[in-house]
């Protein structure tokens, strides 16, 4: 057993840390939010140049044949810096689906993800169906020269910036299709999430696509969908860890430096003990996040799902507690938009809820 990262991984994280420290502080984050966009092409390109998009992708597509621990390391840094760029939707979900489905253009598209030049997003969830990626009302009907798609995909992460949308639809069972975002009959309702990351609702009204829009086999997509969601969940768990580490730093600093009644507030036992509880929770969450990053690549679906659900549920519960307690310990200042804490709390809320919330994963864990 070892809990160490490889030398290559450490170097990657260091260069990512350095780049973000130079180019992306909290003020940059706030001004990006003010533009109402989740995406800054210059930042995206600089991330691509570091190789973070290519790291986990297959060598054949210009990648470095990495694994999910690379993704976890990168995600933690993006969470730590509140970077809203669509890393998870492209490099984790879309890349996994394209790779898993294969097909003539998959290698080329993976190459475009590796360089960051084209953006994809994956939509499984639908309105009114809680966190179940297999609940499908969207239909794909066979036509003379392809498919006609009708339905609604909810809160598609990265759907605001993607030019190609990969969605699940019922074509005699769960099936995956890739559809250009500018297709006739497709409405892409874009918005930003609580923390500034981008998403969209996709509304399909008899959208006609060619036969080649189908990815993989019709009706055979359930296993791929579940696997993709698990990978997304594992990435967000790591993202939360980065955010939590930042919250710990801010809260410890505040407890040390804020004085009331003539002494640092951290010297009051009621706050000190609560901070200690948070530190223990963090260690628990960190272990689970490591497990998630290793098990995300496990080909045995039952083992993988059990591990991912354990991690997502645990880190979700810890995140919720961190959000509440860190604001409470800060008092009023923790409630303000100008202070970074709130942005981290919102990042945690998005990570908790996306790809199955705590309740969903608790239930899945107990059913496995």
């Amino acid at each position: 057993m070892n809990f160490d990262y490889s030398e290559e991984q450490k170097m990657l994280v260091q260069s990512l840390e350095r780049t973000l420290a130079k180019t992306y502080d909290f003020e940059t984050y706030r001004s990006q939010l003010a533009t109402k966009s989740s995406h800054d092409p210059a930042l995206w390109n600089s991330l691509a140049e570091l190789g973070i998009m290519a790291m986990s992708l297959p060598e054949a597509a210009g990648g470095f044949d990495g694994n999910h621990t690379d993704i976890a390391l990168i995600s933690a840094e993006l969470g730590r810096r509140l970077v809203p760029e669509p890393f998870v939707s492209n490099v984790v979900l879309s890349a996994f689906v394209l790779n898993a489905c294969g097909g003539d253009s998959a290698a080329e598209q993976l190459g475009e993800i590796a360089t960051g030049e084209r953006k994809f997003a994956v939509g499984f969830y639908e309105p009114g169906e809680r966190h179940n990626p297999l609940a499908l009302s969207t239909k794909a009907e066979k036509t003379a020269d392809g498919w006609s798609i009708t339905g609604h995909k909810a809160v598609v992460l990265g759907g605001d910036t993607a030019s190609e949308l990969i969605i699940s639809a019922d074509a005699g069972g769960a099936s995956l299709f890739m559809i250009p975002a500018d297709s006739d009959g497709l409405t892409v309702r874009k918005y930003q999430l609580l923390d500034g990351r981008g998403a969209a609702d996709l509304i399909f009204d008899n959208v006609s696509v060619g036969a080649d829009a189908l990815l993989g086999q019709a009706g055979q997509a359930e296993a791929i969908i579940l696997d993709a969601v698990d990978r997304g969940a594992a990435a967000l768990v790591a993202d939360s860890l980065g955010a939590i580490e930042e919250i710990i730093d801010m809260t410890k600093e505040y407890l040390r430096t804020r004085t009331q009644f003539g002494r640092p507030i951290g010297s009051f036992q009621v706050l000190a003990h609560r901070m200690v509880d948070l530190l223990v929770d963090y260690e628990q969450a960190k272990s689970m996040s490591m497990e998630a990053s290793v098990e995300a690549d496990n080909e045995d679906a039952a083992t993988r799902q059990k591990a991912i659900s354990a991690c997502k549920a645990k880190v979700g519960a810890v995140s919720r507690k961190f959000g509440k307690e860190s604001i409470q310990m800060h008092g009023g200042i923790g409630m303000t938009d100008e202070y970074a804490l709130g942005a981290y709390v919102k990042r945690l809320l998005v990570n908790e809820t996306m790809f199955g919330d705590t309740d969903y994963h608790l239930e899945r864990y107990s059913s496995l």
């Binding site: 309105p127 918005y191 009621v270």
Partner: protein, 399 residues
Amino acid sequence: MELSLTAEQTAFRDEVHAFLKESLPEDIKHTQTSGGHLSKEQHQRWHKILGDKGWSTPLWPLEHGGTGWSPVEYAVFDEECYRMGAPRVLPFSVSMLGPVLINFGNDEQRKRFLPGIRSGEDWWAQGFSEPGAGSDLASLKTSAVRDGDHYVVNGQKTWTTLGQHGDWIFCLVRTDASAAKPQIGISFILIDMRDPGVEVRPIITLDGSHEVNEVWFTDVRVPAENLVGQENMGWTYAKFLLQNERIGIAGIGQSKEQLVSLRRLASAEKKNGKPLIEDPSFRAKLSEVEIELRALDLTNKRMLVETERGMDPGPVSSMLKIRGSEVAQRLFELKMDAAGLYALPFQPEAGDAGWNDQLAGTLAQARSAPHYLNTRKISIFGGSNEIQRSIVSKMMLGF
């Protein structure tokens, strides 16, 4: 023992109901039930309607415009207002300043300020907290120096709720910096926010709303007649103000209404093809908070009745605030969780008066996360729950 309403109390509830049905403007009801932010005009219009009915200051002594309602009747009124979608009158003038003026102000001040409070025409803000004086309120530094028949005020207040609308602000200021204890040397003073030297700067909170403000004072000349009570006795008045706030502090009416809207949202949401509200694990959480609220409702009424009969009111408002804020926060949290994925799109203005954008999800879903985030404040403001626990422990445990 009889724990349900008497015939008189039921008749009173019907009277409140009929009045609200007839008098509550549709637009105000709409903003309130949508969970959006009421405009200044909406707040003041509704305050005036209540004032004209004689119901804007129900807890004041009769001779100053009170209604003589018992605590139970007040609770009935409070709950009926929420049930009907009527906003509550803001506490700053009515519940905080009014009783201080009635008890410690002079006739001149009562004649000058009470009518504007009853009608809602004067918008009052509260100037207590400062950047360096939060939980340790007595360490406040804003100074008022006597200069002839004026005080000259310099300093900064913060977390001033809806101060952007303010005409007046009641402030705790330091009038004797050399006093032996920080609690001594504080005075309670009324400042016209339209005077030169008063500047209001917005603070945007993490839910994207503008409710609180910083208020800066630079050489503001305040007539000495605006001092309430005696110089350097302000801490006593402030303590009276905070303890006096116990009626309504548990937020029962609001929490009952939140419970109703939580049930509505959970009935509309689906889980495994069935309404979420039929899901056993969700039901268990719902029942847990519902039972807590049920207990709090009764505890609230019992304690208020007992304090009327002479029980020591000391720890009551702190106890009610602690548990009331916890129940309210839990309800908002469950609502956010019930909203599912559609809690995530950030739509902070959804439901505000005049808001007309396209929604992602329903309005209840859109409001759920901003409400959850916004209500983190209720265990912080007005004395954090940690401070409230210290107050109770001093009073009941002696340390």
